[in-house]
Symmetry: C2
Subunit: 407 residues, 2 copies
């Protein structure tokens, strides 16, 4: 009987090639105008259980449609993921769909699997055709570059205007042995010219039944990738994919599910916070916690409204402990809110409580706002539910990046 | 039988004191730190029918609560409106409520009416107490300054960081005679430090039954003040008030309602567009029209989402004909959207239609974007409903204004 056995979780450096049985490659296929890395290949040495969460945007890009199709057709089995940056293959009509399918076919041929065992992702300019010839031509070089140490290179190849690559990994020790989880992500933004596409790829050498893997991914994404916002936009290409290949010999079951999910959450949260820290023009990471909500969905809704408010984001950028803006956004968030019981804290400094301001505490809060990592808490006074979301500040640099003409 | 008689509508310069029987005054009461005008008094020489629309923010400021109370108590009769700038009297608890009531009482005493015949509005810093002594002390000077030519001064006194005062007026000729409508407004923003409070005050010398006046105001506000957005924020103090005093001798009935409402819409739209043009850091007025929506509410929802998108606003600021951002926001707006039937026009240039881009037209659209007034149209491909909203571009200056520490 293994219940009660000590289970450990350690965070590690490294990414998608840290778990056993995964290798990656990164090449420059000439999709980006400059000679930067723009094509990443990630493969498992055996068929892996696969799950994914995709953008809810109704203008879904071709790679999203094709990856959905493949997951449905295989009931969630995959051998490889092919990702290009520099072109989103979105709003490209029938041609775009054909190109996304051909990307999978070319990868399948090189890897030696069926096309529907390949998942596809793209990020970059919207509305511009993706040249499949470039991807075909780069495939031999990618296969030659494949290696168990190429995760960091792949994390670079999926970047667009990200200021740094984002990787995270964790290892858990279960009764049956060690399981490793690794991930990479790219975030906002895309000045050439598009939406802040978010892509996340996670690998694990755990074995895992599909329903359990899907449940874990959905649960974790909701607390991590879906709990961050740079500018409230949701792209045509957003995707988070996970492959579980079982190479560790350990299979996750209901008993070890919570431990695995905690580790997955650790990896995804580190990736997600990396995206926020690397947000366009960001100088601060802001954690917005809403408490006292009537329901969890209301807590999340209010937290998102605060995190997306340009007035809140500019105030924090400017180091202004402007609790009035926090109260005013909470009041217009469309959730239950009781001013006389509401409260605002910046860091651990109470600035408003019981219907009255504590402006004498403003200098203390202003001092705290000089930090790079900021916590703000708004109590709605309407119940007991809570939620945390993360965002970055809004700087003049954000405007500069996004106002730049794309040509 | 007067149906079919020619009815004319002319727009005029001037504001709240242009209609007969209204006078105004503006003084510096010392509420603002500088010696600028900060108190406006608007009175009708006889009891006027009154109606108002207030902020939907749940953190309602004291003047909003008191004005609501007074309108309910009088069933919509008022003699005067007292407005201060420099202090919002919001989030100020019981003290704030008392001060707002005392503002009405002091005004009533000076004007010679009951306190509940006075409407109250405030705009400025949130969470700071309003000093009633300053308002009492300024009342004699305000009464002495009252005049039928003081509308422009009142329009200045209600400003906070507005770059210019906003006034508009129109005159209609009905069977019974001439009716004049005048208005003033203040918009965003308030760097000292608060929300973009919007206040609008409209006067008319038409007589009008309360239900008709309320119907007209609600209808018009929905198409004008509620169809603009600077940054998606809704303040604790937003109010639009109208007084109809009957001094023209003409009474509006069901027959002349449409003509009156058109004139009221003309006045309110000019005021609302003035607010957008004067938005914080604004360099362009952007009209966003959504067509092809499944329902009017969906058209409005998509138009608001586009108008509030920082990616759209920065692209237009930078002169980038970035139709992809428009499509992507429409796709995530939470309304019915069919990519294969969607279209995007910047000015009269089609950039995306029938599922494919027309990038060859981009230079033409880029040239158009050099104008100060920009129209963009997004067709959702999901129905026949349409809606237009107005916004401004997002500039680095907006960030600078709002990131400035308030002290």
């Amino acid at each position: 009987m293994m219940v009660g056995t000590l289970q450990t979780l350690e965070t590690l450096s490294g990414g998608v090639t840290l778990p056993k049985g995964f290798s990656a490659a990164a090449v420059s296929a000439g999709i980006k105008a400059t000679k930067r890395l723009d094509l990443a290949l990630l493969i498992s040495d055996r068929p892996a259980t696969a799950a994914a969460v995709f953008t809810t945007n109704k203008a879904q890009a071709a790679p999203v449609l094709v990856s959905r199709e493949h997951l449905a057709r295989t009931s969630g089995t995959a051998r490889a993921i092919i990702v290009n940056s520099g072109c989103a293959n979105a709003c490209t009509g029938e041609d775009g769909l054909r190109v996304a399918r051909e990307m999978a076919q070319a990868t399948a041929k090189a890897v030696g699997c069926t096309a529907d065992q390949v998942l596809v992702a793209s990020t970059g300019v919207i509305g511009v055709g993706l040249d499949i010839a470039k991807i075909r031509a780069a495939m031999p070089e990618a296969m030659a570059a494949l290696g168990g140490d190429q995760g960091p290179m792949a994390a670079q190849a999926i970047m667009t205007t990200d200021p740094f690559p984002k990787e995270a990994a964790a290892r858990i020790t279960l009764a049956g042995g060690e399981v490793t989880i690794g991930g990479m992500a790219k975030g906002s933004g895309m000045i050439e010219p598009m939406m802040a596409t978010m892509l996340g790829f996670v690998t694990t050498d755990a074995g895992m039944p599909r329903p359990l893997l899907e449940r874990a991914l959905k649960e974790v994404v909701d607390d991590t990738f879906n709990a961050i916002t740079v500018d409230g936009e949701c792209s045509t290409n957003d995707s988070v994919m996970i492959l579980a290949n079982g190479a560790s010999g350990v299979t996750i079951d209901e008993q070890s599910y919570a431990t695995f999910t905690d580790a997955l959450r650790t990896v995804c949260l580190r990736l997600a916070l990396g995206i926020v820290r690397g947000g366009e023009g960001a100088t601060k990471l802001i954690s917005v916690t809403v408490t006292g909500a009537a329901a969890p969905a209301e807590a999340r809704k209010a937290a998102k409204a605060i995190a997306n408010s340009p007035l809140v984001k500019t105030a924090i950028h400017g180091g202004d402990p402007n609790w009035g803006r926090l109260i005013a956004v909470a009041g217009r968030a469309g959730v239950a809110f009781e001013l006389s019981r509401a409260a605002v804290m910046i860091g651990s400094t109470v600035l408003f409580q019981d219907g009255r301001p504590y402006d004498e505490a403003a200098p203390e809060a202003a001092e705290y706002l000089k930090n790079a990592d900021i916590n703000v808490t708004v109590h709605l006074g309407a119940g007991t539910a809570a939620s945390t979301v993360w965002t970055c500040d809004l700087s003049a640099e954000y405007v500069r990046i996004n106002a730049d003409y794309r040509t």
